[in-house]
C-alpha cells in the first residue's frame, strides 16, 4: 500500500531491474567467478584462542611443501603507527586495523588471522596452513561487555584510554569511548512522573548473514600497480583502505567491484584484499584469489555488537513522558568501534523529551571486531526503549500507538543529541499504522498477541559521482560507482530518466570501478538512492542544458528561446525530440557531476506484528506482520517495499533466533548456518508494507534513505507481542524457545 501526493512520469513506477536477467540466469560475475591466468589460491591461518600472546611463528615447513608459493605474517605488513583515518563510513586507528588484518603481537579473538598462504590450489594451501607452527601464550579472555568494564578484567589493548569526545582518560581500560547526551533536569522529570518503568536488557552478538562470503582476487604487478577484484559495498573505500594498510599511493590501486551477494554493512571493511595483494607480490607477482568459508565469515568478519542496556522512563497520567534515562554498553569486539554512538542516537529519537540523559560505552572484548550492520546499534537500542514505552502505555491504560503519538517528535523538536529535526514523518507513520486494517483486525486464539514498536534511523548523504553519455540514437549510458545491493541501478537510472524527460528503458546504467568514474562513498547509511540520485540529477541538468544549446545552434536561434519539456526541444513552432536531436550531434554530449549533499533527513518506521507462543516449547510463530515507514519519495516502490520486508525479516532473526554462542574457552561453537539460525521463508509470513511519503525537502525528488529504518523496530515489536500472547516481558535477545520457556517458568514460580 502506498500513499502519495506528487506524480512523476518515471519515478514511482515499477520497471524491471537492469541486472535482473544476468542474476537469475547465473551470468552475473561474482567474486568467486574471477579467473586470471597463472592465478594462485590463498588461505588464512586463524587463531584457535580467544586471547593469547604470539610467542613465535615458524612457516619453514609450509614453505617446503610442493606448490606453496608464499607465506605472509604481520611482519609483511608495513609498520603503521597510531593514525586515525576516515575509511569510508567510519574513522579507525590504522594500527588497530592493520592488527586486525594479521595479528601482530597478540591474537584477540577466536578466528583472528595469524598468517596466510598462497599455493597452486586450495588444497595445497590448506595443507600448508597445518604446517605453520605458532606458539601461543594463552591469556585470560573476556567476552562480555559489562565484565570487560570491571576492575579485574583482562586488558586487551595496553595503550587504550577512554575517549570522551576528545577528553582522554589516563588509565588502561577496555572502555574505548564514553558518549553522553544530556539535557534538562532528570530528577525533576522523574519526580513529575506518575508511572516509572526501569528495566535492563541484553542483546546477543549477531551477524549480517549475507549469502556470499567475502572474497578478493589481487594482482600486485612488477610495476607496483595493484589490481583488486572483490565483493564490496564500496570500491573506493577498498582502494583507500589498501592505500593506508599497504602504504602505497591511491593512484596505484585499481579496484573493480564484482556483483555483490549481500552486505548489510559487513562488506565495507577489508579482510582478504590486503592479504591477497601481499601474497601476490611475494609469490612473484602472480594473481592470488581468496574466498572465505562460511565458518570464517562467522568467526572472523565483523558481526554487530552484543549489548547491555538499561532504560528508565517516566510518564504522567495524561501520557506525557517526563524523563528518560539510558545506559548502553556495546561490545566492540577486539578493537574500538562499536555502533554505540548510533545506539545513543536511536534510543529516544522518537520522543519529545525535556529531561534526558543517555550514556553510551564502547567496550573491547575478545570477539571479532564489530563492523557495520544495517542501522548499526539501532535494533539493540529500540528493543530496550520500545519495550519500556510499551510497558508505560500499558500501565497508563493508553493504546500503545496513541501513547507514541502523544509523545512523537515533529519538525522543530530536538533529537537526543541536541539538534532540531527538520521535516520528518513520524506522526504520519504512526497514524498510517493505526489506521491499517491489521491494527484493528480480530486476533483470537490462545497465546496469541499483537505488538507494535517504532524505530528511527538518521541516514547519510555521502559523496557521489556519475557520468552520462548521449548516444546517437538518443539512449543514454550512465556510469556510476555505487555498489548495487538493493536495486539502485534502477532507482538511479529512473531519476536520470525523470530529469531528462526520457523513458526509463532509454537509460542503461553500469556500476564501474575506481578507474572509470569519480569518487563514490560506500553503499551504506541508506545513502545511495539519495546521494547518487542527487549526482545523476545534476548530470541530467547538465545534459539538458548542453542539448538545449545544441538545439539552439541547430536552429540558429538564441538558447533562451528554446523550450525544453518532457524530452522535447521546441522553438517557435519547431520541435525535436531528444532522440532526433541526439542523431544530429556532431560533437558528443557527455556530462559528469560530483556531489556531497547534506540534507539527507532521517526516517521513521512503525511495525505491527501478531505472534503465537507455544507455551510448552517456547517457539514463537509470526502470524502477521506489517511495516509502515516514512520513505520520503519511493522512486521504485517495489524495491522500497523489498527493503522494508528485508529489514523486518532480519529483525525477526535478531528477535527470535540469532546469536553467537561461545564455549568456556572463548571459541565460537556455532560457526555455520545450520547452528547460527537465520529465518527462512518457512519462518515468515508475507510482510505487508505501508509506504508513507513525506518528501524530503533536501532532495530534488524528495528521497529519504529507506534501507536501515526497517530493522530497528522488529525485535521490540515481537517482544511486545510475546508479552500480550504469554504475559512475560522478554528482556534478552534472541527470545529463543529456551529463554521463553525459562521466562514462563519464572513467571509461574513468582505467581505461586
Amino acid at each position: 500500500m502506498t500513499t502519495t501526493t506528487t506524480s512523476y512520469k518515471v519515478i514511482g513506477s515499477r520497471p524491471l531491474r537492469p541486472d535482473g536477467v544476468d542474476k537469475v540466469t547465473g551470468r552475473a560475475i561474482y567474486g568467486a567467478d574471477v579467473r586470471l591466468p597463472g592465478m594462485l589460491y590463498g588461505k588464512v591461518l586463524r587463531s584457535p584462542h580467544a586471547h593469547a600472546r604470539i610467542v613465535s611463528i615458524d612457516a619453514s615447513a609450509a614453505l617446503t611443501l610442493r606448490g606453496v608459493r608464499a607465506v605472509i605474517t604481520a611482519q609483511d605488513l608495513p609498520a603503521i603507527g597510531d593514525k586515525i583515518a576516515d575509511l569510508g563510513e567510519s574513522v579507525v586507528n590504522l594500527r588497530y586495523a592493520s592488527n586486525n588484518i594479521l595479528a601482530h603481537d597478540k591474537v584477540l579473538y577466536h578466528g583472528h588471522a595469524v598468517a596466510a598462504v598462497a599455493a597452486d590450489n586450495v588444497h595445497i594451501a590448506e595443507e600448508a596452513l597445518a604446517l605453520i607452527k605458532v606458539e601461543y601464550e594463552v591469556l585470560p579472555h573476556v567476552l562480555d561487555g559489562k565484565q570487560a568494564m570491571s576492575a579485574n578484567a583482562p586488558i586487551l589493548l595496553d595503550d587504550l584510554r577512554t575517549n570522551e569526545l576528545g577528553k582522554l582518560g589516563n588509565a588502561p581500560t577496555n572502555v574505548a569511548e564514553h558518549i553522553r547526551h544530556q539535557r534538562g533536569d532528570l530528577d525533576k522529570g522523574f519526580a513529575e512522573a506518575d508511572v516509572i518503568v526501569e528495566r535492563t536488557f541484553h542483546t546477543a552478538t549477531v551477524h549480517q548473514g549475507y549469502i556470499e562470503p567475502q572474497n578478493a582476487t589481487a594482482l600486485w604487478n612488477e610495476d607496483d600497480q595493484v589490481f583488486v577484484w572483490c565483493s564490496t559495498q564500496g570500491a573506493f573505500s577498498v582502494q583507500e583502505q589498501l592505500a593506508e594498510l599497504l602504504q602505497i599511493p591511491i593512484s596505484r590501486i585499481t579496484v573493480t567491484p564484482t556483483e555483490i551477494g549481500g552486505g548489510f554493512g559487513g562488506k565495507i571493511n577489508v579482510y582478504l584484499d590486503p592479504l591477497a595483494a601481499l601474497l601476490s607480490r611475494k609469490a612473484g607477482h602472480r594473481p592470488v584469489k581468496m574466498t572465505m568459508t562460511r565458518a570464517e565469515v562467522l568467526t572472523s568478519t565483523g558481526p554487530t555488537s552484543g549489548s547491555h542496556i538499561r532504560v528508565k522512563m517516566g510518564a504522567r497520567r495524561d501520557g506525557t513522558i517526563t524523563a528518560a534515562q539510558a545506559e548502553l554498553i556495546y561490545e566492540a569486539g577486539a578493537y574500538p568501534g562499536s555502533p554505540v554512538g548510533a545506539g545513543c542516537g536511536v534510543i529516544f529519537a522518537n520522543y519529545r523529551l525535556e529531561n534526558l540523559q543517555i550514556d553510551g560505552y564502547d567496550v573491547v572484548v575478545n570477539r571479532p571486531k564489530a563492523s557495520a550492520y544495517r542501522a548499526p546499534g539501532g535494533t539493540n537500542a529500540a528493543f530496550a526503549s520500545e519495550t519500556v514505552v510499551d510497558e508505560l502505555a500499558e500501565k497508563l491504560g493508553i493504546d500503545p500507538i496513541e501513547f507514541r503519538l502523544r509523545n512523537a517528535v515533529r519538525e522543530g523538536d530536538r533529537r537526543p543529541d541536541g539538534p532540531e529535526y527538520k521535516r520528518i514523518g513520524l506522526i504520519e507513520t504512526l497514524e498510517a499504522a493505526r489506521s491499517h486494517p491489521h491494527y484493528t483486525a480480530p486476533l483470537t486464539g490462545k497465546h496469541r498477541g499483537r505488538g507494535v514498536a517504532a524505530g528511527y534511523w538518521g541516514n547519510w548523504g555521502g559523496k557521489s559521482s556519475a557520468t552520462a553519455t548521449v548516444n546517437s540514437d538518443g539512449t543514454v549510458n550512465l556510469i556510476e560507482g555505487s555498489t548495487d545491493i538493493g536495486g539502485s541501478r534502477a532507482s538511479i537510472a529512473m531519476q536520470l530518466a525523470e530529469t531528462l524527460g526520457l523513458p526509463y528503458e532509454d537509460i542503461r546504467p553500469q556500476v564501474v570501478g575506481t578507474a572509470s568514474v569519480g569518487y563514490n562513498d560506500v553503499t551504506g547509511g541508506s545513502r545511495t538512492t539519495f546521494g547518487t540520485g542527487w549526482a545523476v540529477y545534476e548530470v541530467g541538468k547538465k545534459i539538458l542544458a548542453e542539448m538545449r544549446q545544441r538545439a539552439a545552434e541547430y536552429w540558429d536561434v538564441p538558447v533562451e528561446s528554446v523550450q525544453v519539456a518532457d524530452g522535447v526541444f521546441a522553438h517557435n513552432g519547431d520541435q525535436m525530440s531528444f532522440r532526433e536531436l541526439a542523431g544530429k550531434l556532431d560533437t558528443p554530449v557527455t556530462a559528469s557531476a560530483s556531489v556531497h549533499p547534506q540534507n539527507y533527513g532521517p526516517g521513521f518506521g512503525v511495525h505491527i506484528v501478531d505472534v503465537e507462543v507455544d507455551v510448552e516449547t517456547g517457539k514463537v510463530e509470526i502470524l502477521r506482520y506489517t511495516a509502515a515507514q516514512d520513505v520520503g519519495k519511493a522512486i521504485h516502490p517495489s524495491y522500497v517495499e523489498g527493503q522494508l520486508q528485508g529489514g523486518a525479516a532480519q529483525g525477526i532473526g535478531w528477535a527470535l533466533n540469532e546469536e553467537y554462542v561461545y564455549d568456556d574457552k572463548g571459541r565460537l561453537v556455532n560457526a555455520s548456518l545450520l547452528d547460527y539460525r537465520m529465518p527462512t521463508a518457512l519462518d515468515l509470513p508475507m510482510i505487508d508494507t505501508v509506504l508513507v511519503e513525506a518528501p524530503n525537502p533536501g532532495h530534488p525528488y524528495g528521497v529519504r534513505g529507506v534501507g536501515e529504518v526497517p530493522i530497528v523496530p522488529p525485535a521490540a515489536a515481537v517482544a511486545n507481542a510475546i508479552y500480550r500472547a504469554a504475559g512475560v516481558r522478554m528482556t534478552e535477545l534472541p527470545m529463543s524457545p529456551a529463554r521463553i520457556v525459562a521466562a514462563l517458568a519464572t513467571q509461574s514460580t513468582n505467581a505461586a
Partner: protein, 88 residues
Amino acid sequence: MRHDVWIPPVHRDLTGGEERVQIEAVTIGEVVTALEQRFPGIAARLTHEGQLRPGIAVAVNGVVTPRGLRQRLDHASEIHFVPAMAGG
C-alpha cells in the same frame, strides 16, 4: 553575528555546568577559538592539528557539515558538537 553554541555534556566540567553559550563568530573555527578563551582546555578536546578531532562532527542548524572548522556562519546559527555516526 551571535550564535547559540551547545556545550557537549562531557565538556561541561570546563564551563561550570553551562549547557549553551552565545558566541560571536564567522566560522566554526572562530567559535572554537572563542570557546577556548572563555573555557580554557576545550579546544584541545574538540580539535587536533587544526581540525575537528576524528569522531567529532559539528551540526549547524541541524545539518552536519563536512567543512568542519572552515564552515562559514552566514546567519545566526545553532551549533552542536556531536559524535560522528556511521550506517551500514
